[in-house]
């Protein structure tokens, strides 16, 4: 695995820097010496020979530098230097740092807040069965715009429409809760019997509305929600 080997070699030069660097020094010095020896055999002085090798083969310092920056570990080291440098700069100017940190905090906080609203309002689907197929229907009039649907119209729509698999009527209703210490006005909805089953919701206790209970004159049936 050449990837593993490259990681291992990089880690070695990161954490055993002294050893890796001294080995590299020895190898490059050896290179220089061997090349110089060759030239000294041909009668050059040692000084001239070393100089000639540097001219011919390039400076060994530059070589060391390019070896050091060739592996992936050099970017880790650079990053670490950058982190330390920025920490130093931030300590030097605490006022600026504070302003930046507060700006970032407010920015991130505002973003998070707005996103949670968008997520729950726009992105997350309603917690009902096939919520993407749920649609609210209204009647419109030219003068007023959206108006509520009359019950007779609703009945006509329900029998005549083939676009929707189910249709449900919902109307707000207010109740008065009496018989407790303080009477209370409670808001609720009058709904068609298939309201809950269409949404795929089942009452925790008791039973759902029955289709026969839609007719006028039958006894009123109530389902309580947690809001009560």
């Amino acid at each position: 695995m050449s990837l593993l080997r490259s990681i291992a070699a990089g880690l070695q030069s990161l954490f055993r820097k002294e050893q890796v660097s001294s080995e590299l020094d020895e190898e490059l010095d050896g290179f220089l010496e061997m090349a110089a020896e060759e030239k000294m055999k041909r009668g050059m002085s040692r000084k001239d020979a070393l100089r000639a090798v540097r001219l011919e083969r390039g400076s060994l310092e530059v070589t060391k530098e390019s070896l050091r920056s060739a592996g992936w570990e050099s970017s880790v080291e650079t990053l670490w230097h950058d982190v330390r440098f920025s920490a130093r700069m931030m300590r030097k100017s605490p006022g600026f740092t504070t302003v930046v940190v507060i700006t970032l905090a407010l920015g991130i906080g505002a973003n998070t807040a707005i996103f949670s609203v968008i997520n729950s309002v726009l992105l997350r689907p309603l917690p009902y069965r096939e919520s993407s197929r749920l649609i609210v229907l209204n009647e419109t009039t030219p003068k007023v715009g959206d108006v509520s649907v009359s019950y007779q119209n609703f009945l006509d729509w329900r029998t005549a429409s083939h676009t929707f698999s189910q249709m449900v009527a919902v109307a707000s209703v207010d109740f008065n809760l009496a018989g407790v210490t303080q009477p209370e006005n409670i808001s609720g909805d009058a709904v068609s019997p298939n309201f809950l089953s269409m949404m795929g919701v089942r009452p925790i206790l008791g039973r759902d509305f029955d289709a026969s209970e839609e007719k006028a004159g039958t006894a009123p049936v109530v389902l309580l929600s947690y809001a009560l």
């Binding site: 050449s2 070699a9 190898e27 290179f31 090349a35 060759e38 083969r57 390039g58 060739a70």
Partner: protein, 110 residues
């Protein structure tokens, strides 16, 4: 400068180093000298490109290295071709031959 050694074709240095090591294990200077001899002085390696290439080959697992004594009883890092390196050399040699033949055909077209 007319007598300046030529630059290598990009990407061929690794292949040439592998070839040198296929003959026998060698230290860095030895590789440079051998390449210069075999190319009759056309390729003179810069220490920078040589050692960067050696590091790259070793990290790719194509070579191994060990410290040994040279014939002049100096300590030097010898590079040895691995089995993987031998395979790579074979495939690169084949590919190089294919490309050179193709380029020759293009240049000779009239």
């Amino acid at each position: 400068m007319a007598d300046k050694p030529s630059d290598l074709v990009q990407g061929t240095l690794d292949m040439l180093i592998l070839k040198t090591l296929a003959l026998e294990p060698m230290h860095g200077y030895g590789i440079a000298v051998r390449l210069e001899q075999m190319s009759k002085g056309v390729f003179r390696l810069n220490a920078g490109s040589l050692f960067v290439a050696l590091q790259r080959l070793q990290r790719a697992g194509l070579t191994k290295s060990e410290w040994k004594a040279t014939e002049n009883s100096r300590r030097a890092k010898y590079y040895v071709l691995t089995e993987q390196g031998r395979r790579r050399l074979n495939s690169e040699t084949r590919e190089w031959g294919r490309q050179v033949a193709a380029i020759a055909r293009i240049l000779e077209a009239s």
